[in-house]
Subunit: 420 residues, 2 copies
Amino acid sequence: MAKANAFYAQSGGVTAVINASACGVIETARKHTDQMGKLYAGRHGILGALTEDLIDTSRESTADIRALRHTPSGAFGSARYKLKGLDENRAEYERLIEVFKAHNIRYFFYNGGGDSQDTALKVSQIGVQLGYPIICVGVPKTVDNDLPLTDCCPGFGSVAKYVATSIREASFDVASMARTSTKVFVLEVMGRHAGWITAACGLAAEKPGQAPHILLFPEIPFKQDKFLARVEATVKKEGYCVVGVSEGLQNEKGEFLADSGLRDAFGHAQLGGVAPVIAQLVRHHLGYKYHWAVADYLQRAARHIASKTDVAQAYAMGKAAVQFALKGHNAVMPIVVRVSNQPYKWKVGMVNLCDVANREKKLPRDFITEDGYGITAKCRRYLSPLIAGEDYPPFKRGLPDYVVLKNVAVTKKLKTRFNV
Amino acid sequence: MAKANAFYAQSGGVTAVINASACGVIETARKHTDQMGKLYAGRHGILGALTEDLIDTSRESTADIRALRHTPSGAFGSARYKLKGLDENRAEYERLIEVFKAHNIRYFFYNGGGDSQDTALKVSQIGVQLGYPIICVGVPKTVDNDLPLTDCCPGFGSVAKYVATSIREASFDVASMARTSTKVFVLEVMGRHAGWITAACGLAAEKPGQAPHILLFPEIPFKQDKFLARVEATVKKEGYCVVGVSEGLQNEKGEFLADSGLRDAFGHAQLGGVAPVIAQLVRHHLGYKYHWAVADYLQRAARHIASKTDVAQAYAMGKAAVQFALKGHNAVMPIVVRVSNQPYKWKVGMVNLCDVANREKKLPRDFITEDGYGITAKCRRYLSPLIAGEDYPPFKRGLPDYVVLKNVAVTKKLKTRFNV
């Protein structure tokens, strides 16, 4: 019998280091060709499996696979596509098994957040039901840092380093200009429902009075009067005020301050534009000159300022996923386990997918200061090691030299098409 | 007679490398204490001179002055404050001379853009008129790259590197997501009237089809139908479309697409928010899912990804300014002279301030492709060397370690106050 092949797919919003996980998966698989056959990647995530659009990763050079480690985004294409429940759309799961069977795929690696781990779990279950057992291993990824059980999520540390660095740099700028010009600066960051990225902005303020002066978390309902009073007091004391705000900031009625009304495939509101709302509020009520920035994709794609810790963990998760699979572990996910804070030490752990799926880890209340506008020492101890170390990509002609893979398609074996 | 002292001030919007120029000025002055006495800096630029709020730079350690080279923003504070004409407000100029006389200041170094060079020229002229000759040397600075005569402006190369890097990274992200999610990404960049920074976004596209696909220059009036047709064609061909847009984009009537209505001290409109306008247009007419980012201060403060060429030139301009002054050159400014493109070589030149003041260098039409949406090979040859090389700052606890100076005030000598 031919050696069992493997399938790897990237899912959901991409990060600066999801390709480092891909690199870990592929390099590790290549070391075990005695046990594992070909490693196929899904073109645009799970859609690649459903439509039998598989990429043959063996056609990529060693150097190009190595370069994934320093290349942001999803090299095989990702997808915002959530499989429905087994009862609602059994056909999708059956199609997956059909494709896997046709290509002798017995390993399924799914690199994504909570929704994706739920899918990986279901694939494992349907495989058993249909008499085609398949080993399913999740690979954690999300800039939102909201997966449970793991100490942190690959992708988050690099966003954290980017936002903390950027808000520090912008704060130096505002401090220079405040005497005659801009007094208030607002940076909007990602993190739909969990304030982890907002909290990371706070790392830039290492001493009392340092910027950012105010953080607006999605967990803390926005109170306009209290906020404006704090801005005014800060400008009077420090000469300027820097604010980090989550895209998911809500008022006391639970309404998003900037809801564009769009929804993504998972049914989440597509947010953006709360920074100008906050800035206009300040201008209107306090009259201060302002500037605002919305980092958007820049923050999660900023591989040039990735955290070395994050890159190492992303790679380790990919590597461990293959090792777990080869040992026969099914429906599991590797995690980061924190061993100690000072010095920071971590190791790879393993959890069951059924304990991961569809659970969101919010920022604990004791990570936020009592007034709701800053981070506590406990939060800082947690976050600080995650942004440690630089891991610069190579540069060519002044620009980061990122790899674009050949992504050669595997010849289709099925006659049937599947519309998604 | 006591040795003549010197005065240095930072003016206008700060950059990632204006402190590298300050470092060049101070380190060079410290090497010539036989000819030059103390070097004072103006707290908040020219306001420091008008209000006799001088900073004694000799109180800073060698290491801290050295650290200015890798610290963004204006370490002494900058100011958006334009002196009026000699006829309109002679009192301001007389006050400057009064302060300079009280502190035996015979050298005036003014680090800024076109408006500031005009001020430096006037100070030189009024000095002669009032019988207190003072040597005035400009130090070029502006992210807008719009000063005449110099090949480029310190500050621009680092913004150029930041926007080209950022739009490349975001483009990789969008390419990953486009199949099921975001198809159009819009990055708004600075450059009020000149499209130099917008052009720099184009450096990220090195091969046909690569992002960014469309650049919207302030020099090219925005035509909605033509733009939307290009977006649609690009999405159909490439699967996604990335747009770089200048904050100063105007329609065919010469109206800014996003004018917030505010004006700065120089009378320029304070812009921001054209990216969401463009993104909404795309959504409304073509229905594509979009994301947008506004880099704002992040781009000009991003010392972590500064151009090595830019840092070297910024330092060289500061150094040359002091050298020129010591040789007795008055009312002049050092410039960057390009010697060759391949290999890129440059040297320091010198021009008269009267030829610099109040002249804006726009992006030449032959730097923009005929269709108005891209950069030509000629533009690329000009821009490419300016972003060459990395010059990373030191990091501590995962964050760039920027210096904050002590900025010790010089004891006032005048009894009179001056209100600005």
